[in-house]
Symmetry: C5
Subunit: 354 residues, 5 copies
């Protein structure tokens, strides 16, 4: 779940295509393969210690959902992929966790890459984790790196024998995609709330920190859009095209996720526009404050500068300065000075600077 703009590919560069090298953050936990096999009557949830034990899942008759946590264990992924007959490029892409969301049709199965997002409360940062799905006739494979995901609801529904148990692998894949996209909404709710708080703060009391946070959220939106934009195409393709593995029934449901995905994008764009507007507000409030300061300086300086000059004149030591000996010279000087000060105050008021 690295935050690097561009992930390190290490020794990957220059390697032959299909070379299996893990790219991305490594979880510290050991790889864990969990298989949920079900049909209308049965439900079985087990841990798969040995990838070589996969063949029964490949051909049915039950539907198997094989989830792998920890794709950095290349050997296990390779064994599993080999046993289920995946193309070397698919295995390479599963290991390279710095992919754009995409869909590829290999006739026997569909390969789908999506990004599972998590909002890290402390740092106010979005973390993306790549999820690879392989949708076959009798199995759905899902690959993640870190333990913990957004699929708990799906497992629950499988366990309790709801509609999902009566339908095929395409519906299971849909359920997983739906869980991922639904999660985007809760993430956006969170960010939306914070942006609105920021907006209020901006009006009440803008500070350089406000600016840094506007920039931070703009950056998050950039990264978010990078994850969601290509997903739209993926879902559009699933909705539109005639992939043999997707039934017409499921396509209706996928159309729904597609709508949600567009809605997410809309919201991201709206937030971006809003943040751009907030930046304008911030900058202009800074220059307003500057104006305020300049006004005070100008008024003070402009009033006292002539007064000080007058005082300076009568501080001169010329022998012949008749005013100095007048009876009311001093009082007169004060009068002149007060008059000048009032005149200037009036001028400022007329200029609406006071």
């Amino acid at each position: 779940m690295s935050r690097k703009l561009v992930k390190k590919r290490g020794k990957k560069v220059g390697a032959a295509p299909g070379t299996l090298v893990h790219v991305g953050d490594k979880s510290e936990a050991a790889a864990h393969i969990r298989v949920i096999a079900y049909d209308q009557e049965h439900f079985q949830d087990q841990r798969l210690a040995e990838p070589a034990a996969c063949p029964p899942f490949k051909t049915g008759p039950r539907i198997s959902w094989i989830n792998v946590d920890g794709v950095h264990e290349v050997a296990k992924v390779e064994a599993l992929g080999g046993c289920l007959g995946l193309h070397p490029l698919v295995m390479e892409d599963i290991l390279n966790t710095d992919q754009r969301p995409k869909i590829e049709d290999y006739d026997d199965y569909l390969y789908i890459v999506i990004k599972m997002l998590r909002y890290e409360e402390q740092r106010h940062e979005i973390r993306a984790e790549q999820v690879s799905l392989v949708l076959g006739r009798h199995f759905v494979l899902s690959f993640q790196e870190h333990p913990g995901d957004v699929f708990e609801g799906v497992r629950e529904r499988l366990r309790h024998g709801r509609r999902i148990r009566f339908l095929g692998t395409d519906y299971l894949a849909y359920a997983l995609l739906d869980a991922v996209v639904d999660n985007y909404f809760s993430l956006l709710e969170n960010i939306g709330d914070q942006v609105e708080k920021l907006e209020e703060e901006l009006i009440a009391n803008p500070s350089p920190d406000t600016l840094a946070r506007i920039h931070h959220f703009k950056r998050e939106m950039l990264l978010l859009r990078k994850s969601v934009w290509p997903l739209r195409e993926v879902l559009g393709s699933l909705t539109r095209e005639e992939h043999a593995l997707i039934s017409a029934e499921t396509r209706l449901f996928l159309r729904d996720v597609h709508d949600h995905c567009i809605h997410v994008l809309d919201t991201v764009e709206t937030l971006r526009d809003l943040l751009a507007g907030m930046l304008d507000i911030y900058l202009s409030s800074v220059s307003n404050r500057m104006n305020e300061i300049m006004k005070v300086l100008t008024i003070m300086a402009t009033i006292f500068i002539p007064l000080t000059f007058i005082a300076g004149v009568y501080g001169m030591n010329f022998t012949h300065m008749p005013e100095l000996n007048w009876r009311y010279g001093y009082a007169g000087a004060w009068l002149v000075m007060i008059a000048v000060a009032f005149g200037l105050l009036l001028f400022f008021r007329r200029k609406k600077w006071l």
Copy 2:
């Protein structure tokens, strides 16, 4: 009619598709189902206490317009939807009032989501309420949350037996869409007026409050566009595609609403461009004012600083300062000071700062 950027979905996230949970603001009024059934000769307007009583409306021969106020009463919506044979996804979408406008063709009926807008005068805010339409062969279903809508004119025409009574459900759906889009115009009139007022104020007397209001209207335009942009596609699809439920005759009328919708979008874009231009004007008027202030400060300071220096010189207490004892020393000092002041004033005039 929440103003939240992103609506809370509460326990919805992670639920199975088709789970019926209400998302959005809740009206406090109880749900109210009203059925208007008509044909060329008859007109009947009644309240439907029991959703289970719907079957007669489903098959005709009369045309029924079933309007539901208060979609938060999930049970009623579910009963009605079940009785009219709606797909679970449609019912889910009816309850989720935070949808993008969209159209979905379920062969037997069309499902259309649009946004009914209301301008709240006091807060100068646009409030959006989701309206779901289901267009069947013999009935049109409309779902809203809050009592009060823009369809009074349609009801009036139905009551008085105009052309609308002679045409099918597609024309009724058109009439409802037309009412919603027409309402956008009156809303835009209102906002347009205020933006023009703001424009005048901007030139006459810009203040930080002006800026806040420009930002406010920019934000409203963002939200408005988010409602209208996808509606364009919805109407375009109705005009273009061969939905079996839409007659060629009605398609002519829908083309008209489509035109109106594009006109609304045009106006929204024009207002956005105008507001962006106003922001530029505001920012530059702020810096103009700053210039003005700086000029006054500069002129005052620049004139008096040398004068004060001269006065300071003749305030020095050196024993041997010949000028101090000259007969016209004092007068001479004044002359020099006046000459310097005039020289500087001339310099400023030549620079066009005065």
Copy 3:
């Protein structure tokens, strides 16, 4: 010819489609129907007092150009439209003078909406007037609100029996469209001249008024583009599609108007880009001027502040100040002050502030 951003629709909102209500500015003149009927040998120009007298024009054999000034007289428009068999939506659109340019094919006739522009010299404003054209087999209908138009040249050519008399209604419609688009050029010439004048003024002597005028022209360009952009699509459709009423010969001519229209749009975009660039220039010339002012202030203040300090020091009244009694103390003080002043001037020159 209102300048309102959004036109008032008054009681129109909520009315049934096809309800005939005039929307837009009202001319004060009475409606005036003028019919020019012609074929290769004949030419007849007459005023039509009674719309009911139209039938001969409908069926030929001569070609009739029926021009209506004053669409606010709803009854006359309705009578004429009814007699020529126009669809209610067409009549509604003719009366609603706040339409986007568009084309609609009703098989028997084409309905075209365009904007005739006029440049008001005194206020430097573009005024748009809606022109509706109905192109039938034997007649062309044109609707305007205000007396006076850009079609005088077309009438002249009809009168003098040029090529236009040998061709059909499609060519007449083309001639009218061509006259409208040609007029855009003379309008742009006018605005182009003024923008170039403004550009010179901007460099010679920018003032807040310059800014207001840049904003003004940007706004005019917005409104102009709103009129011309959809016209491009209208003309493109006439050029491309197989409207039965347009001959291949005339399509060549329409391609020419289409080119002109794109040229107009190009010029509008170029002017917009230019005005955006001028705004940048203006803003930076303002801050340049600010710099200039600040420099003068800084130089004056920075030179005299230390001098005044020195004078202040020797104005102190300490009993024991040896310098005061020195023979050349005063001259020495002057020397120090002059040296400081020159030193600072040198510093400024090195900084290139002088």
Copy 4:
């Protein structure tokens, strides 16, 4: 070769289509028609005094390239066009030298409008001259206004009997188009060099003149793009579509010019982006300089203002001011003043303003 944003069309507005009126700058030279007729064995270069003498060129068997300098001589263009059977709209467009680049297929011939560009070194301005090409089966017509063009290389190749002599009129037209587009590169080289020089100057020593030149080049890029953008479509159409007059062999060559044209556009866009970036740099360097100035003012003023105050205090004339009579009062005052000055300098250093 006018630089007006919008060309004057004079009495052209409102005229009948096909009316032959010259629009644009007039060359002072008399019109000059030059015919190069060739086949594999022959080459003949002659001046054509009388346009009526054209018929032999129309039908072959040799290929003729008829070049007209000075399209303002309407009569000659009309005679030539009439003799070669050009459509009135083509003749009108040849005379109107303010056209967008375009291509029109009249079955017997192709009509192509392009812009020949010239860089005027002294004013650093791009001048555009319209070149009209008519590509027939046996002849290529080219129309220009001013003597001097970029076709000298083509003439040279014709004279020396290279490949061009063995191929048809389509290849000749290609050679002319290629010469025009190649010329764009040398123009862009020139401008690119100057922009890079400007970039260096911007960093070394920005001045208001730098800004004016950035604006100038931005404007040139606008005008350049206006000439090249539609040319891309013209060349794309020649490459793609099945114009009967273009052989497959020549289409390969045209694809090459098309690539060049896209390359030119790419470079124009890159220059535009670069100039936009330079504007940002300029503006921020202006405000940096402002900062610099403000810092000097602040430091000087802030140091001397308190010192002057202290001097002022001991210049007061109170009878009872004990410090004045102290033995080391004066020295003490100096010490205090020096301490204050150093304290402030330290403060500034800590703030990193020094």
Copy 5:
């Protein structure tokens, strides 16, 4: 590997198409032709002294990869191209190293232009070198200018007899394209790291140099995008279209490179957006600093200006100034001055300027 925005084409302008002139930087090394010929059992790596010796490579049965370093040696390129039957335009394009990436199908072979990028650490600059690929039935030709490339990994795989030895020329071409695109990633990693460093520096300690580097990276991104954007189309064409020379198997691999290329573009766009955001941050941090400075000036000046005035008043030499003779006059003056100073400090604190 010139950095010129627009490359000099020297005497190339105006030349006949197919004229073989080298355009671009010249390597100082002599041209070097290296041929790797292989099939499943054999592998042969040799230097080709004489281009005329190429015929055996043309027809197989082994697959030959002929790599030319140093395209400036026109004669060698011409001899090689002639012997392998390349079209004159292809040879012209190979020599002109200032091309956009493109693909051209000449039936017998595909001609592909791509850019090999290198990051020059010292100057933080991207250098682009053009690589031309010609993909025939039995050979792949590659042309570069400078020794050293990114193909070492491919040679290694060929040497060690991996899968690449079992597949056709299309797979070899894919391997070369893949190596080039993979190299973009390592380049972006490098730049991404530096941009992130710059981002940290921007927040910690912005300086005019930071601005210059933001501008520098923006410029690099412009140039990078110019190389990668058209490559996307090239790879898209290879993936999509039915080029006879590309097998379905290889197309799967090319789809993978296509994905990588889009990923590169995404990252470039993200970096651009980020840099744009950083520019905003920089500008506003500059004006924040300005504010800071202004505040200090204002506070110092505003406090001392009235104090100095008071001191000035009691420095006046009027004969009748009662305060001067008061017992506690001096102490009173101090009291007044301290009171004023504290009052002002309080005012500033309330304004939150302190």
